[in-house]
Symmetry: C2
Subunit: 385 residues, 2 copies
């Protein structure tokens, strides 16, 4: 397998992008990535998108984006793994280059979620859960993650204040991110006094509904220096895994087994342990998700994830900075784009281009992206070479 590097990144300001269509949002990010990479063509592309069908009545999204990006007749494929679609797109591009089939591959993600009303969006997102056993019975994602939160609280004594601390940290970071949807700080009191969505999750425990896109350009490491004046970032570890789609089938719904498996695959491939990671982007679709994820990644002991944000250990200047971008919580969560955007934040950190969010001496970064209530997960480890 050939070594693969990220040589270009592109993202737009996320939020309520009423004036732009799905294709415009994607093309904007893709062109930025191509310009950043300094390439004059791409050989193939992957687009992560969760539900163009339900959000904007458009499938066939790979070909559409190749068309509007002006790169036909190259192969273009949409991949879907619910909210992990953007991470899976990067994995497919990695594999295609590693195989020798293509040299320069664009991987991106896009979602336009605000063209439907909030109820419709909630139902579209619920198609990531088990339609026959979960959604049919009326539960949507705030309910599923609330059950995970209750279990975590009961088993380990995790508190609402600890959940809130995740939101506080991520908004503090997000304020420093010019592309974030909600770049402002919140306090623990504001989180605890925000509308209860599904006990124990308040409005400010939930990531928002977002329009946005992100794209990266990958190539074989050995030719990376031909294209970009910037620091190429090597992808040294890639892991993907699955779990039961429905929560009730899992032995312990508060433990994200697919995340653990995906991370272990990536650690093994990169020959790294959790202690080697300098900065990490994780999938905080709800505050409880970040807590469970950092346990599954090995940054906190089982049951101890709740202490991490509250004690400052996952802050930008903490022992393991988590979600320096603001995370899904403050940066926004256009579901198909999120996983690709995580890779972008890590590349910026490893290049030393993260501005006020910069983690000092970051040499090894990691991303963790997941679908549904954790039934699919994909992790990447990236390093300065």
């Amino acid at each position: 397998m050939r070594d693969v590097a990220v040589i270009g990144i592109g993202i737009n300001k996320w939020g309520e992008l009423w004036e732009k269509s799905l294709r415009e949002i994607f093309v904007e990010a893709a062109l930025k990535a191509i310009e950043d990479a300094g390439v004059d063509h791409i050989d193939s592309m992957y687009v992560g998108n969760m539900s163009g069908g339900l959000f904007v009545g458009q499938e066939h999204i790979g070909a559409l984006m190749a068309d509007y990006l002006g790169v036909t007749p190259i192969p273009a494929t949409r991949v879907e793994s619910a909210c992990a679609s953007g991470g899976v797109a990067v994995r497919q591009a990695f594999i295609e280059i590693a195989s020798g089939m293509s040299d320069i591959v664009l991987a991106g993600g896009v979602e336009k979620m605000l063209d439907v009303d909030t109820g419709e969006a909630t139902l579209a997102l619920a198609t990531a859960a088990d339609q026959e056993y979960e959604v049919y019975n009326g539960v949507t994602f705030p309910g599923l993650y609330a059950m995970i939160a209750h279990l975590h609280m009961q088993k380990y004594g995790t508190t609402s204040e600890q959940l809130a601390a995740v939101a506080v940290k991520n908004h503090r970071n997000g304020k420093l991110n010019p592309n974030a949807q909600f770049p402002f700080e919140v306090t623990v009191d504001q989180v605890l006094n925000s509308t209860m969505i599904c006990d124990p999750l308040h409005l400010l425990d939930c990531s928002p509904i977002t329009d946005g896109a992100a794209a990266v350009v990958l190539c074989p490491l050995e030719i990376a220096s031909k294209f970009t004046g910037k620091q190429p970032v090597k992808i040294t570890g890639v892991g993907q895994a699955t779990d039961f789609l429905a929560l009730h089938q899992r032995k312990d719904p508060s433990w994200l087994e697919a995340v653990e498996k995906a991370a272990n695959t990536a650690y093994k491939m990169a020959d790294k342990t959790p202690k080697d990671i300098d900065v990490c982007e994780v999938h905080d679709c709800f505050t409880i998700a970040e807590i469970c994820v950092i346990e599954a990644l090995g940054f906190a002991e089982k049951g101890k994830g709740g202490y991490m944000a509250a004690s400052g250990r996952t802050a930008i200047d903490g022992e393991i900075p988590v979600n320096t971008s603001g995370g899904l919580k403050a940066k926004g969560h256009p579901v198909g784009a999120t996983g690709t955007a995580q890779v972008i934040e890590i590349v910026e950190q490893l290049r030393g281009e993260a501005g006020d969010r910069q983690v000092k001496n970051a040499r090894v970064g990691m991303t963790q992206n997941m679908g549904g209530s954790g039934a699919s997960a994909v992790c990447h480890i990236l390093e300065v070479v």
Copy 2:
């Protein structure tokens, strides 16, 4: 890149499968493929599906199928390229094995289209066309292919009888296929006297709406003989390409440029020409599609595709047998599964297991699968080794 072989195939009887759910249909085909391959595990899987969201309210289809197949925690990804999704799934599995990332990979496709009414199904399928420029103005696929047919008739003198001859041939073949949705013969008169759907396309010029699944198991050629007692079939050529999504943007809408490009990539990789192909499965979503496709593949001169079926040259005993399975027309067209099922038909032909549909001395086969009105296309060349 490592050489890759198909070692297992699985398909179910296609049709109106009211009593089975999306997951059941897929798992049935996948288990057959795993049993046929003789493997005791798989390392990774890809599922082609066009619109689980619109047809059955289910996305996150990779993880769902891994769950119900009982193979978690392996990586599982859904790929979508409209009606080419099942072909793209095979390509992704090919690349993953070629790269060295995985050894045994399952690629399949599934669609359950009959849980919604025909009008809803037509609109769900229309999401493969350009939502902003085509569908918004009221055109759906019968209309788009009718425009292609009119242009082909005007430019080359193609007749309704020639279109009908494609349906007659494919139903004649489909009658011999135990898994076909419509295993009966039709006559040219029956086609011409069937309900006019969109001039010049009659009901019997159109492929049906279908529930169905198909799956194949792939592994490195060098270890293929370890698993199966059957003839391994090597994938020697893979090509994928894109074109403008909307018909009006193409220089000549009667010429399928993405099909030509995908085929040329596959021919080059396999070191083959159209003359080397002994049997081919093509994407006859409408009779005119088969006519345009065999031109783009190089089996007929430009504009001469109409003569082929009518003259018997694409019959099972003709110079280039096309759609021995019955094609989309008679076998059925569960859109996400079609591309994988084409590979299955070619494997059966190359193994000599095609029964009454067997093409004599078939050594080199080809598949051509496309999305929308040809904006995406994927071709595979398979050979006995």
